[in-house]
């Protein structure tokens, strides 16, 4: 067992507050490492980690790869496009092949919710969820929480609004689970038909009025609106979305308040967020990216460290 309460890191639904706190605290230690001239520590020397990406996500993969390399682990990347997966090999086959290579940890990204849980049944290695479709993306939520913590020194009582297409988001659910566990207040704001059924049962508020939400919130976490969803009957137009939910410079100016702007990326500048906001002083979007590496280092380090404490 590692230093967290569970062997794997699959989601935040059942991750206790103590684990989340430990990950964030250790994450800040790695932030310091990332500021050094040599941004690398030997902690995971000799460990083998495979990044299994069954769906493209350049940012998440790069962030994990960097985190692994900065911990001195040996890293293999596997992506669906370069694999036999398209030739009808099952998830199980692919994974067992990789398992036979004696990996210590598997980081997996897959489009199907729950696929990460299946993976734990096929391998002995420590499994880390790099996003299983619209289910969980716990490392993204951890970096979001670390970034909020960095800004406010705490999570409890912080008012976080998650804005946009909650239904199709890969990051919303984990953020909700984690923030609620840590005692933050969460409001979801987006088009009503893009808020999934029964989401309020998770303890979040719902609003369709972005201006009220900006007035209320300490933090806006703005989700990507996929352009593919525009004009196919789901979102009427960019113009309409921007006027109802877009975080525009004009809208932020009207409120004249301090508010922290977050975005998990990749951004559609000029759609869900204006460029001037994304690049503005209130935005911590690039801190999120750096914290992403640190928090993933923290998770890998805590999961792969094992054994009893001995006197030094």
């Amino acid at each position: 067992m590692g230093s967290l309460s569970r062997k794997h890191f699959l989601g935040l639904k059942e991750t206790p507050a103590d684990d989340i706190k430990k990950i964030i605290d250790t994450g800040f230690m790695f932030r310091e490492v990332l500021d050094r001239p040599v941004k690398k520590v030997p902690s995971l020397t000799g460990m083998n980690i495979v990044n299994l990406f069954f769906e493209n996500s350049t940012r998440t993969r790069m962030s994990f790869e960097l985190a692994e390399k900065r911990l001195s682990a040996d890293v293999i990347n596997f992506s669906a496009s370069s694999s036999s997966l398209k030739k009808g090999e099952t998830l199980k086959d692919t994974v067992q092949n990789i398992h036979a290579m004696k990996m210590d940890a598997v980081v997996m990204r897959h489009s199907a919710p729950g696929s990460i849980l299946q993976l734990t049944k096929f391998v002995d290695a420590i499994v880390i969820n790099a996003g299983d479709g619209t289910h969980e993306h716990p490392t993204q939520a951890m970096l979001d929480m670390m970034s909020i913590h960095e800004k406010f020194g705490k999570l409890k009582g912080i008012k976080v609004a998650i804005v946009g297409d909650i239904c199709h988001s890969r990051v919303a659910l984990s953020n909700i689970y984690g923030l609620i566990t840590m005692g933050a207040e969460v409001t979801l704001c987006g088009p009503p038909h893009l808020l999934p059924v029964g989401i309020e049962e998770l303890g979040v508020n719902i609003s369709y009025n972005i201006d009220e939400v900006i007035e209320w919130a300490d933090v806006l976490n703005i989700l990507r609106i996929q352009r593919e969803r525009m004009g196919i009957g789901i979102i009427p137009s960019v113009r309409e979305y921007r006027s109802s939910f877009g975080i525009t410079q004009e809208r932020i100016n009207q409120h004249q308040k301090e508010i922290v702007i977050m975005h998990p990326g990749p951004m559609n500048r000029g759609v869900e967020i204006d460029s001037t906001i994304a690049d503005g002083e209130q935005a911590i979007i690039l801190d999120q990216v750096l914290n992403g590496v640190a928090v993933r280092m923290s998770i890998l380090y805590l999961l792969l460290s094992q054994g009893e404490e001995k006197e030094a």
Binding site: L91, A112, P113, S115, L117, Q118, H135, G198
Partner: protein, 434 residues
């Protein structure tokens, strides 16, 4: 472990509760079979010396079950099931009569394909009744040769697995099939509303991040289908009803006198969407497992007669296919072997009797298919299922005779078990003769 055994010569089913589901009558007594033919039924204890005896004390002897809804995958996917392996699964579950759905490859949409099934099944120990496709290739566009298929042995028509999307085509099918006196079965689901849903849409689907299929995707289609049936005075059967709303809609039309019948699957009576919390692909089924509220409405609907019968929707899939991720894995679960156990357990816990459960598996489906309702006729082929209504048992893989093993019900405890199934001179069960 149950197995097939020959019942040549004289066999006495001794001292059981002989239940005739068509008359809803029970009598104490024994049945004597000779070479698979019923010779005698009554209280006489004159046991022929050379008879094998199956002790039926405190057991129920009744008519072999009928399943209106099974997928035996032949032709096309014999790796999942064949008519032969499906027959063994049926016998293990107490079924001697099974209707097989036409969504094979190629689909059963012609008299030739129906004849293929009839001929292939003629040597099997159970009776297999093919259901023909409503439209060519189940494509929902052109009516198939319905009358020719009926002449070849089809007992009903359905495009099961896919709904007849075009209401006008369904109207034609309902009108046209009237001249054959058969039932039209339409898979009731609005595909646009279902969209890419893989489970019931609810806070559960939200929690799991899985695309949802809302309950009204089914009930709006049932409303459409029954409105058409009402207009043309057709005979329609609703398969695998899964939601409380659907029960309401069916009741509405039944109360108006529309000629509609409906079935419910054992898994919808016994399981809910909570089974999906670990993303078990064996619990992925169409229509999906619903909420507890829906489950209770189905139980009540069956008791009230709004739903007429129980049908398994036995849908075998290979391990390999079910080992895919939840989105890619196919819909469906096997059901013949567990059908009586789970239905009896759930329904007797909810106030029904063993006799009720037997009627939902015999009398009701046979009526829907216009079968002759005769039990234990002397001089006729034996068609018998022996049940122990009290026995508690844990359902496990060893009870499964299907070629596929995709069931989410392993390790569930059931009350009431099929002991032996007899079809002519073939018995199936643990031999308990003395």
């Amino acid at each position: 472990m149950k197995k097939e055994f020959q019942m040549n010569g004289k066999w006495l089913l001794a001292n059981g509760n002989i239940y005739n589901p068509f008359l809803d009558e029970t009598q104490q007594g024994s049945i004597l079979l000779e070479d698979g033919i019923v010779k005698y039924l009554g209280k006489d204890n004159n046991i022929p010396k050379d008879a094998n005896v199956i002790d039926c004390d405190s057991k129920m002897i009744t008519v072999g079950f009928m399943d209106l809804h099974a997928h035996f995958r032949e032709p096309g996917r014999e790796d999942k099931e064949t008519l032969e392996t499906g027959s063994l699964a049926a016998l293990a579950g107490g079924f001697t009569k099974v209707c097989v759905m036409p969504n094979t490859n190629p689909p059963l949409d012609s008299p030739e394909s129906i004849r293929f099934i009839v001929e292939k099944a003629s040597n099997l120990p159970i009776d297999i009744y093919p259901i023909g496709a409503i439209t060519n290739g189940q494509k929902g566009q052109n009516l198939s040769e319905i009358s020719e298929m009926i002449n070849a042995g089809a007992v009903a028509i359905s495009d099961d697995g896919v709904p007849v999307k075009n209401g006008q085509i369904l109207r034609y099918a309902l009108e046209y099939s009237k001249m054959c006196g058969i039932t039209v079965i339409n898979h009731s689901e609005d595909e646009d509303i279902r969209a890419d849903g893989v489970m019931n849409e609810s806070s559960m689907s939200t929690n799991l991040g899985l695309p949802g299929n809302p309950d009204y995707a089914e009930s709006v289609m049932i409303f459409r289908d029954l409105s058409i049936a009402e207009f043309v005075d057709g005979k329609i059967h609703i398969p695998h009803v899964s939601t409380a709303k659907s029960v309401e809609v069916i009741k509405y039309f039944k109360d108006k006198g529309v000629n509609v019948t409906a079935e419910v699957s054992p898994h919808h009576l016994g399981l809910t969407e909570n089974r999906l919390s670990e993303f078990d692909t064996n619990a992925k089924v169409a229509p999906p497992l619903r909420s507890e509220k829906d489950r209770l409405a189905l139980i009540q609907g069956l008791k009230d007669g709004i739903i007429d019968c129980v049908a398994t929707d036995h849908a075998p899939h290979t391990i390999e296919e079910k080992e895919a991720d939840f989105i890619q894995a196919p819909f469906g679960m096997i059901g013949l072997e567990s059908a009586f156990g789970i239905t009896h357990t759930v329904m007797t816990n909810n106030g029904a009797s063993t006799e009720d459960v037997v009627r939902w598996l015999t009398d009701a489906p046979m009526k829907i298919m216009n079968f002759k309702l005769k039990a234990f006729e002397t001089g006729k082929k034996a068609d018998i299922t022996i049940i122990d209504p009290q026995e508690k048992w844990i359902f496990s893989k060893e009870h499964v005779h299907s070629r596929s093993k995709n069931s989410p019900m392993y390790n569930m405890e059931f009350t009431g078990r099929v002991i032996t199934t007899i079809s002519g001179n073939i018995g199936f069960g643990e031999i308990i003769s003395s």
